[in-house]
């Protein structure tokens, strides 16, 4: 494996909650504790595992036994909820903090970008900050000087370059800060949520720049809450939950699993029957697979039962987008037979969809029913999660918001 960019083996990081408290604590408290601590250490020596510090409630593992590998030229996304250990992992990879257990091997120069504008000083001018920030991020002076014009042009701050940055608008400040960072070129780039800054057009520019970075064959480790950005930029992903690695593989698959894990299985399909009326129950209602990949086939299942015989005049499944706009309707009257239930016989419907041409995102599914007993629109029964396929073009796709609702299936011929 000479193409390896980084290898992480059994990485763990333990934080002492006590250490956090001592942060603003005074020496006096600590003197008491320092008398106690050696005693605990001695006690720990006789404990089974012989570890130096007792693994008590005062400490917690922000990261535990995480192992993965990344080849050169691959972009890895790290997904997981807040507190899953994403930031801790990035901090270890960028050497800001040391792991408690395990090891990391890095086969290349690492540049990390955990914050935009680290070390910027408001009293200094744009020009001065470019050099200072560049040096902090590990660039050589000559390298910064060479890229200076490019950085200034990218940030669009030519006219203010000799103005102290405290007079910049927040947008200008962010643009300048990102511009410096974007011109960093280590072999392995570690990035945290950097895209969450600036206006939409600048975000697009950043995304484009980051796309360039990955296509140049640079190795990237990327954390973001923006799953679209992760999918656009990364080919592989790892999934963290409570400090542990719970998934590792292709980005589409991991994002899907993450969404599923987040919603909980219960919401993707009904976990218990829902009473529509006093007599009617919805026993099954949902799509499989869920999440589904854009353009892929899927099926819909419905199962209803009624305590008494019942004829249904209208039955339809409605799909709403995140803005509660109605996107589609599946008319179940097209089943060809009258929709009837008797006391014993359940109504079971199985709908096959050739493909789902929806842009990635979360959709809500509702049921419309009109019978001799009731007329009802039951909203928000389940969520349907649509995720995009791995991007194969050599460009960065537009964000989901920009692409509307329908993902057309097309090919382009060129004469």
């Amino acid at each position: 494996m000479s193409n390896l960019a980084l290898r992480v083996e059994h990485l763990g990081k333990k934080y002492r909650i006590g250490a956090r408290q001592a942060r603003n604590g005074l020496l006096g408290d600590e003197i008491v504790a320092s008398v106690k601590r050696p005693m605990q250490r001695v006690a720990a020596l006789f404990a089974r595992d012989g570890h130096a510090a007792p693994d008590n409630a005062e400490s917690f593992w922000a990261l535990r036994d995480v192992s993965f590998e990344l080849a050169h030229g691959e972009a890895l996304g790290i997904i997981g909820r807040n507190g899953a250990g994403k930031s801790t992992l990035l901090k270890i990879l960028s050497r800001i903090t040391k792991p408690t257990t395990g090891r990391v091997e890095l086969y290349g120069r690492v540049g990390s970008l955990l914050e935009v504008g680290t070390g910027f000083h408001s009293e200094l001018t744009g020009r001065e900050n470019i050099f200072l920030n560049g040096a902090i991020l590990g660039m050589r002076r000559a390298e910064i000087a060479r890229k200076f014009d490019e950085i200034v042009a990218f940030a669009e701050v030519e006219n203010f370059i000799d103005t102290p940055v405290k007079r910049y608008s927040s947008g200008m400040y962010m643009r300048l800060a990102f511009a410096v960072a974007a011109h960093l070129d280590p072999e392995i780039l570690v990035i945290d949520e950097v895209l969450a800054v600036g206006d939409t057009s600048f975000q697009k520019k950043c995304l484009g720049k980051m796309g360039d970075v990955t296509r140049e064959g640079r190795t990237v480790v990327f954390v973001s809450h923006d799953l679209t950005a992760i999918q656009a930029l990364c080919s592989r992903a790892i999934r963290l939950s409570h400090g542990e690695l719970v998934g590792y593989g292709a980005v589409g698959e991991q994002v899907g699993a993450y969404l599923a894990q987040n919603r909980g299985e219960a919401q993707n399909d009904l976990d218990h029957p829902i009473a529509l009326t006093a007599n009617t129950q919805l026993a099954r209602f949902g799509f499989t697979p869920n999440p589904v990949i854009t353009g892929q086939p899927l099926v819909f299942n419905l199962e209803m039962q009624s305590a008494r015989a019942m004829r249904i005049d209208e039955l339809a499944v409605l799909i709403f987008d995140a803005l509660s706009r109605r996107i589609a309707l599946i008319d179940l009257r097209r089943s060809g037979q009258p929709l009837k239930m008797t006391g014993q016989d359940r109504l079971k419907l199985h709908v096959s969809l050739k493909q789902l041409p929806l842009v990635e995102g979360e959709y809500r599914v509702a049921l419309w029913i009109r019978s001799d007993e009731v007329t009802l629109l039951q909203n928000d029964l389940v969520a349907l999660n649509v995720i995009s396929d791995v991007n194969e073009g050599d460009f960065v796709p537009y964000r989901a918001m920009a692409r509307g609702v329908v993902e057309l299936d097309y090919s382009i011929a060129r004469e």
Binding site: T97, K98, F131
Partner: protein, 293 residues
């Protein structure tokens, strides 16, 4: 089997292999007790300069008097000491006019105390940097100290003016000055390493430091001559490395009768010890800076 084969490969081929197969960097939990990666510090020398330059630039921006503050401070101290200790208390000054006698001592003293104060608060002041970027942490107290050296430079210009005024001609002894300067800085650095690392964990240090500096000032021969100390206590007095440095300054610049000899050697030894211990302690603590700062 594989291992044997690879070790039998021609040297050149092995060398290219090593490039691709050995990690450039390995991150592991433990670190050695003493490990000052000088090469890494050297690789980051530009950052050291930039941080120093930032400190200097920012310090006097938006001040009316700017760099004049670097001169005003020792000048004021000199005037006060001259009145209180020179005129009122009439302390002996070895035949040297009292103002220049005390100003010559104030230079290394201010260098030391300024460097120490700034180094101590440096890590906490740079907490945003420490928690977001990696670089050798030792650069932070180091760069904070460097800006004190610039202040020293400005204040030294005044000393040159005073030497001309009092008609004092420097001798070959002035060659010892860089060494004494280095000793003062090394002392500040050694103690600064301890205090800055401690300050990350216990903010008490911030409150202690002005007090320590004040006591130390009177424990050093700044306002008086060390000849005032009884002979049987000279050895104890000499444990303060600033004694050697300050008397050394007077000896080198003003030609006082004090002989460096054993005292300066003792100072150098103590400074060396403090410095090494400071580096060890700092290194032991630096891995946790980002977690607790």
């Amino acid at each position: 089997m594989n291992a044997t084969q690879s070790s039998l490969k021609p040297a050149r081929e092995r060398a290219t292999d090593t490039l691709a197969d050995t990690p450039l960097l390995v991150i592991v939990p433990d670190s050695q007790l003493f490990h000052l990666n000088l090469r890494e510090v050297w690789n980051y020398r530009e950052l050291l300069l930039f941080l120093t330059w930032r400190d200097i630039k920012v310090r006097y921006r938006q001040t009316v008097l700017g760099a004049a503050w670097a001169i005003l401070q020792p000048l004021t101290a000199m005037v006060i000491f001259s009145i209180v200790f020179g005129q009122l208390a009439k302390l002996p000054s070895d035949g040297i006019p009292y103002p220049i006698f005390t100003y010559t001592a104030l230079l290394p003293w201010n260098l030391f105390s300024g460097a120490l104060t700034r180094a101590t608060s440096s890590l906490v002041a740079s907490s945003n940097l420490i928690s977001k970027v990696y670089f050798p942490r030792v650069l932070v107290p180091l760069s904070a100290m460097m800006s004190a050296l610039v202040d020293f430079g400005f204040a030294f210009l005044i000393l040159i003016g005073m030497m001309i005024f009092y008609g004092i001609v420097p001798t070959w002894r002035i060659l010892a000055l860089p060494f004494l300067l280095f000793l003062a800085l090394a002392a500040a650095f050694g103690i600064g390493l301890w205090l800055s690392a401690l300050n990350v964990r216990y903010r008490d240090v911030n409150y202690i430091i002005p007090f320590v500096i004040q006591v130390w000032l009177y424990a050093s021969p700044v306002a008086y001559s060390s000849t005032l100390i009884p002979a049987q206590w000279q050895w104890l007095y000499g444990l303060n490395p600033l004694t050697g440095v300050i008397e050394g300054f007077r000896w080198a610049l003003l030609g006082t009768s004090w002989e460096p000899g054993g005292l300066i050697l003792l100072s150098a030894l103590i400074v060396a010890f403090v410095l090494v211990a400071g580096l060890v302690y700092f290194h032991r603590m630096e891995d946790s800076f980002a977690d607790i700062v």
